[in-house]
Symmetry: D2
Subunit: 265 residues, 4 copies
Amino acid sequence: MAETAAKTPEKPQRKLKTRIGTPTHEIHRLLFRGKDTLNELVGKITFTEGVFLAVTGKLPTRQQTQILDACLVILMDHGITPSALVARLVADTVPTDVQVPIAAGLLTVGNKFMGTIAGAGALLQKGVESGKPPREWAAETVAEALKAKRRFPGFGHPDYFPDDPRTMRLFEVAKSVGVSGRYIEMIKLLETEIEKQGGKRVPLNATGAIGALLCEIDFPVAAMRGVAVISRSAGLLAHALEELETGSSWPVMQMVMNAVPYDDE
Amino acid sequence: MAETAAKTPEKPQRKLKTRIGTPTHEIHRLLFRGKDTLNELVGKITFTEGVFLAVTGKLPTRQQTQILDACLVILMDHGITPSALVARLVADTVPTDVQVPIAAGLLTVGNKFMGTIAGAGALLQKGVESGKPPREWAAETVAEALKAKRRFPGFGHPDYFPDDPRTMRLFEVAKSVGVSGRYIEMIKLLETEIEKQGGKRVPLNATGAIGALLCEIDFPVAAMRGVAVISRSAGLLAHALEELETGSSWPVMQMVMNAVPYDDE
Amino acid sequence: MAETAAKTPEKPQRKLKTRIGTPTHEIHRLLFRGKDTLNELVGKITFTEGVFLAVTGKLPTRQQTQILDACLVILMDHGITPSALVARLVADTVPTDVQVPIAAGLLTVGNKFMGTIAGAGALLQKGVESGKPPREWAAETVAEALKAKRRFPGFGHPDYFPDDPRTMRLFEVAKSVGVSGRYIEMIKLLETEIEKQGGKRVPLNATGAIGALLCEIDFPVAAMRGVAVISRSAGLLAHALEELETGSSWPVMQMVMNAVPYDDE
Amino acid sequence: MAETAAKTPEKPQRKLKTRIGTPTHEIHRLLFRGKDTLNELVGKITFTEGVFLAVTGKLPTRQQTQILDACLVILMDHGITPSALVARLVADTVPTDVQVPIAAGLLTVGNKFMGTIAGAGALLQKGVESGKPPREWAAETVAEALKAKRRFPGFGHPDYFPDDPRTMRLFEVAKSVGVSGRYIEMIKLLETEIEKQGGKRVPLNATGAIGALLCEIDFPVAAMRGVAVISRSAGLLAHALEELETGSSWPVMQMVMNAVPYDDE
């Protein structure tokens, strides 16, 4: 084959840039999302304010910060969850690099558990975009879902009934800092309609409530699962350190190995 | 082989427990490191205070929180770093699960870059444990390291000279909130001795300064790299979202492919 | 709340077992998918045969092995791809644990690139299940997809036109070992119909061909992406080792940093 | 600060290249480690031969392939290990992207378990480089280790005593294909000396034997852990698929949660 045939067809070069931050080699400036990192951010804002800035490009109001803090704090840990167990098993075999067990544990922050935050947020955004009166929208949405036997993201919990105490506390915090609005209203209407139309109570759980609260503070739906990721990274750090100190992986593995026998039938 | 030989030798069962948090199925209580999550933490503390609590089991003082916030904010991003590039490449191929690119990017928070925080912290802890007067300890430590041609964790930077502006800002923040002490003193003495004995200035960089500051607030050395992990998870969330929005991976890959040719010599 | 309310509702315990393999503590036997590992497998079968056994529970025929080997070999590497670049960037920062860069690189084996193997496989399975004559099925499927502006998994390539030479070689191998059948027939019919109905040629690419070949050897669709994962793990090992030896990450990062400037507009 | 100060200091550009493989955009050739991928490799070699080529740049002899196959087959699975449990927990929460649970599980292939292959290999390489007669080297090495209370990588097993049956089988395979040599001799001498000098038998385990065998076939020490990574990726694929089919994660998590209570003392 002729060498001249080897040329890659020209592709229009997209304009490459990032608006997140400057690299360290630009030694005359250190910017993060349009702010002077050293003079406007370090020592001036909390990490939570930094998270909001990172995602939206804007510094949050006091109310937005308080809500984001409440969400970040409540998601940090729930004891020995799949994410914690994964982090602990990996910490035991890679004890020298704590970022490895944390990263492994974070991989579990998928659709099944915390991904429902964004699911609830997206549903509420669609509701607002529909322009329908909230009560009408909720009634129609629940009717459709029941017909299609579809479950709602952010509703139901294997342990909490009739209410998820975390939901109640999150709404209490929202009220106390003066955050209220149509997203909270709409998700409560969904809860009411699910019970009314479905004939049994399915409580709004913590991830559903967080989805609504993050909508209220203009936190983008695409970034919502990231709140769980950041928050849980702190909880998993604690689990990885505890594992290195007290070591529970090995007895847990023995228990699991004995409980899950080999059976080739 | 006889079946009787198959029995696993008995092993003493370690007492298994976790002091991090309660699982959700304990519906009458929700505890995190000895605190009532809903009534003492959510809506009461910031996420940064939660991080300190997660790692140490104690709520921080106002000063400890301010220092930890400064460290978390300054480590959030440095533009297109290896961690950001990894997260963006993975976001492009796994666009549906934002935890996957974040976790991939966090794997790079290794010894080479941010692991030096803990290296500096450990060195300072050893210095304090030695019981020697700081100046004497610094002089001896530098002399030994120069002889062994060993580099110090937290010193030197390819771009910043003669000073790392981040170091100066971090120490300024520490001073303004009233945090000072032997760790800061000792790391500054190291910087002086390195220049004096080595004959050329090697500036204390941001990770070295963070190591000293985290020592000052009683943040354990084993958890120090975790500060970079938590902080960077927010920066990587921003990069993953930007990648999904504007897509820079493909042109970057084309550039890299063209710059790194195949050559089997 | 009364303590008595705290009990978790009883859940029926699923019968737990695994049919993959025995744990090492069952010292009188070592089984893998029903086979005696030491006496029937080690020294008796190739790794590729082991892969087939792992996934299907059956040892492959000679033809099945030859096809699986061809697929595993062809997917091993394509130079500096996103997976290779990710592995190299992580190898540079975690040089002590080669499994970490390999795992990071494997995370990119997502839907965008190699996931199309399973997409093509699933499409063909559906075609067979439809019971329609292949030509009719292909014509209808292409017509529907064109109408919905849907692209076919396993078709088209930015560089290869009018044919993907890898596809041609894979089909040549299939023919030479005597593997042919309705899946290969159907995917070729799709290629023909796409050109006929769409008015321009969109070549069947390597992942589409692999999807068809893996269908021919009864390799389950759910496991198809795994072939790319196993195969690429070998290529990424080579990249991680090369990175540790010759170090290309840092100059590549400098190039990328310079090419993607910070711009906050 | 003057803009002129902003220039990054010039750094000599390293010559960038890869000898692994060509990118797909070089449409006139497809090379992998100096071989023509389509004409010399696909349909001609097994995947195991490809692994050897990827790592060493050379195609293996028949003996080298047989040994590498035996090592890859024996490491594929050991039932519900930490790697399998991690993969299953992640599969349950990220069911759509099978590369994610496999990558998570591979992170556990660390120093504690399979990393000992490379440890044993490195020890033997050092022994050969010492130039000492094998028996003398083994006696000295064991004497030093006993004095320093250092354990040998690749020796001892919680379940197998007095012999690890996998070790015996691997050496049997080596003998049957005509592979023998100083590495096997030296590791057997170590086993003898450990028993003689230490006063109790510590059996050579499978990872130690694999380290010796991989030395015999000129497989580089730096790549040895990669054999476990590639091999285990197949076992973890099987576990991820079984998890998606039969779902054991949730009952296992319930058992573990109940077994590891929260206790803040």
